[in-house]
Symmetry: D2
Subunit: 332 residues, 4 copies
């Protein structure tokens, strides 16, 4: 098995998770991490170089592939810099909030001839992957409807919201990717109703915290996404795909499978609390897939184009909500 | 207990069900039915007069209350005629497809001082009634979202579709009523995407068979209804109400509660096949409630105004789909 | 359709239910009820004679069939008396607590040439009937195991327990019948462990309130019944049949199908509270079946022998618990 | 964190799993494995010594703790040898099939002053641990009943069965441990019915493949275990604990949470196929707990006595089935 040497840029929450997963993968060497706030002692014990400057990591000619897990505004620049040195790139979503800048990044990647995978990890969740297989294998028949409920357990701080690009680009973007992934079809047109029901500070920051987005798909089907920034019972991630031969539904996942019977009714635990627990396996699988793609010189299953289009859908949804009409999605 | 004497106009499917239920109710005498196609032998054995002319039934001064179960185009006229003779009226939905004609009917009823109940039976379903209680009792907290899935097991013939007023007035009208009933709020604005995915003949008849309708509510919340004219697994009637204190979900109901484990996976039976089975208890309860309202001189819980507003919402949804924009619901 | 004239002996809880169901059945006339404690006004308004003396009812030559719903000690005598006048008999379970007396009753019935159905209503429950079909149709393959959980919501008073014949003859008897019904096989041998965990007064009355009974079946399979006199969450009636091709499980039934999500976990309502609600449909179906059997001269599906054998199993279980060893079931 | 150096004896299925898990644990060095059939190249690449002779591993004074994962007949001897050199021991279940030999082993361990943990991994399963917490925290109230269903997906070969000590010592032993773990009580008396329904070769080897075992517990409660060597739908591991305040039920676990609706009914996937998948997390947790116990000098939560008692219960069950009577469990 060909050994792959990798570096991780950004040692925040998701970068640390990826680094931990890479450490357990056979045939992979995590050589360095880079982050202006890195704590060297946490890494050097494990034999990993801890750099302050991402560009120093990118300049390391031993490194075959880079995971870009730094803040969103740096994604495009670091992806381009890494590609230009011939490194394969795994870039967390979104590549950027500006389609123009994403397109520029994709051109650099294209020109450099490296692989690029975008971090839409949910495609690698075993439950959602089962739904996709049901569509591909014809179990659902002709696809009529994709329905997604995605609710966070608690809203982010309003200051986070201010720079997030808005709920549709920050949170719903995963669901837009899921509509494309499950349907195998493109989104033509979007309509969004939004509301501020969870936290007035989110409204003051110019965003909504509750929304329902409907879509027309190129294959003739429809889709609907319902989002909330707060479900008091935890992370609520349910999807239903429906078609001419029936439906298939992804339910929530739980820390244990227990049903309790009491004088006051039957009880079950709440679902896994948040995305780190719920999508734990998907984070491992997406990086394994990236490493395999690099090793075998294959195009990864989540391409740069897959990174661009959900941003275009999110911008259309934002525009729909503002202009109070359905909006066509811009061509990639 | 005061004896109530009733007549049923229309001996089709729903009229026959109501007549059968009335026959078992204590304190109720079903004196007559009327239908141009009535089969007298089916009724006279049970001591019920079988008339051809609804107006003969309306003219019978022994009869306190009339159930109008004839075809939709006759509802308004027969309701007015019965009200003018001082009879209380239970009228199947919709009163009419024309708001103007519904308003005229409501004026006649108002002037006559009789009770009028409209046949939105689903409000009397024990499962949906439980959801309403959860909202009223504050179990859901502030209401953020009402989500309805309503799918029929098989589409109606295209010729039926042609005269039905369209899916939104024929099928979704129950769901519009349910949004109002569960939320306790009015619908301000509607957006609809529709598609013809089940039967091209429905498209040729000028209607859609698949739709997703989103709504803004006066209380600030949102609602979404998803409809299909065909779910191959049977009648699919699920509702979720979600708010600041959590959610509550009405699941499908089944002929028996059995889980089968086989080499090919776990299996459950399909849900109760169609509305007659699924809503059987609600048909009994709505007519009991009507009879009680008449007996006690109380306003029934589903008023003429409740009959008008879902038609206005349905017309707004139809207009949204045609004009390709969200549409405000007309004032009742 | 041949008209059947029936009388009901015993106007306690179950007799009143059967009388109410008979009143709604086409082709059936409920002519009389008989009970030393009958309240005539409750019956005469509905055109039903109210007699104090069961033998007066038995003597009425208009009556074709009698339902014996009086206290257990009178079952055998009244069944014999009715049979001897040529009346068909539906007898509530058990026919008697003494096998000898049951055998004597069955001989009289046999000699009289009338039909006898014993009130094991649960065979007519749609959920359990589905399990039986799965066995008969080979969906379960060779039958390896029948597992029954049967728990009451609350224990009976200790004075009731004293005359009940003990839990195995009073409560488990239904489960013994269910083992035979589902397996289509006889019980060869029984072992029982019992305990007094719910109410010490039940122990003082010489009975147990918690038990687990295991059985060897003639077809080679095994069975296990678990009973409790009190489940604080309501009536708990679950059955699993398992065999070479998999299993099938009857779950509890609920007043409505609702799943609630709250900060403190998911909640469902408790099951239907007690046997009157849970087995409501089965009470209608068993009496319909009895009337049909009488009308068509067919042997009813629950025979006198089916009334005898569960008593023999119950006696073997009682003996096992007392003698502290497995006990063979006496031959019918 | 104190570094712990470990060796694994036996590189079969379970030894390899433990070795893999140890490799990922912080503060643990896996220094050597030993097995007459070891494949050195599989281990030396990872920096692990591969020995043929377990005693060579035991003689290595660098090693603090040994995992005994070799065939059952060698467990006692290797545990004693390791203890005598002052090594802490994790021993797979059962320590031996002979109580006398287990007692001798426990005496040597006691005298050597080392820690011993026995491999009842299921106690570390998050779902079963939740049940135990419900008992400990009083959510179940007084414990009345422990019910276990444990079915394997496929029977072992008859030659395996011949040396296994019989189903009760080979398979049910886990369930006996679970009864003790969940109830916090000892088993006083056991009754077993067994049958050969899955594979006649198992019967010819002198064993059964289907059984139902009932137990009286020291706390007054009852327990029942139902076993089968073959459930065609996969590994079936369900437990219910019931008491004065209600019940709590551990359900099966599934590869994904999907509900599919088709014309032929609702479908779910089958449960995780076998113990390696179902109890994966418990294998990690039990070894982590062992390492922590060694590190902190604490008695592990599954002691040598916990290894002895289930064997005594299994022997009582075997004797019950043979002698056709309930049997008291021998004192440890």
């Amino acid at each position: 098995m060909k050994q792959i040497t990798v570096g991780v840029i950004g040692t925040g929450r998701i970068g640390t998770i990826h680094a931990g997963n890479l450490a357990h993968m056979p045939g992979v060497q995590l050589k360095a991490v880079a982050d202006p706030l890195v704590v060297p002692s946490e890494w050097e014990d494990r034999g990993v170089e801890a750099l302050l400057d991402p560009h120093a990591l990118i300049a390391d000619s031993d490194i075959d592939a880079v995971l870009v897990c730094s803040p969103t505004p740096t994604h495009a620049e670091l992806t381009m810099a890494a590609a230009e040195t011939g490194k394969h790139v795994f870039c967390e979503k979104p590549i950027d909030l500006e389609p123009k800048r994403i397109r520029q990044t994709l051109e650099v990647v294209e020109r450099s001839g490296v692989q690029l995978q975008v971090g839409f990890n949910r495609r690698f969740d075993p439950t959602f992957a089962r739904l996709r297989r049901a569509v591909v294998d014809g179990e659902v028949g002709d696809l009529h409807m994709v329905k997604i409920v995605a609710r966070d357990p608690a809203p982010p701080p309003a200051e986070y919201v201010r720079d997030s690009g808005g709920m549709f680009l920050d949170m719903t973007i995963h669901d837009f990717d899921m509509v494309r992934f499950l349907s195998g079809s493109e989104v033509l047109e979007v309509h969004a109703f939004g509301a501020v029901l969870v936290d007035p500070a989110i409204g003051e920051a110019g965003d909504v915290d509750t929304a329902v987005v409907t879509m027309k798909l190129a294959n003739g089907g429809l889709a609907v996404i319902e989002n909330s920034r707060r479900a008091v019972f935890g992370y609520d991630q349910r999807i239903e795909v429906f078609g001419s031969r029936g439906g298939i539904e992804a339910m929530n996942e739980y820390p244990y499978q227990v049903r309790q019977r009491t004088a006051r009714g039957e009880r079950k635990a709440n679902p896994l609390y948040f995305f780190l627990q719920r999508y734990q396996r998907s984070f491992v699988a997406e990086v394994e897939t990236f490493v395999d793609s690099v090793r075998q010189g294959r195009t990864p299953p989540v391409t740069g184009r897959d990174g661009l289009i959900p941003v275009l859908i999110g911008l259309a949804a934002t525009e729909s909500m503002r202009s109070h009409r359905p909006v066509r999605v811009e061509s990639p």
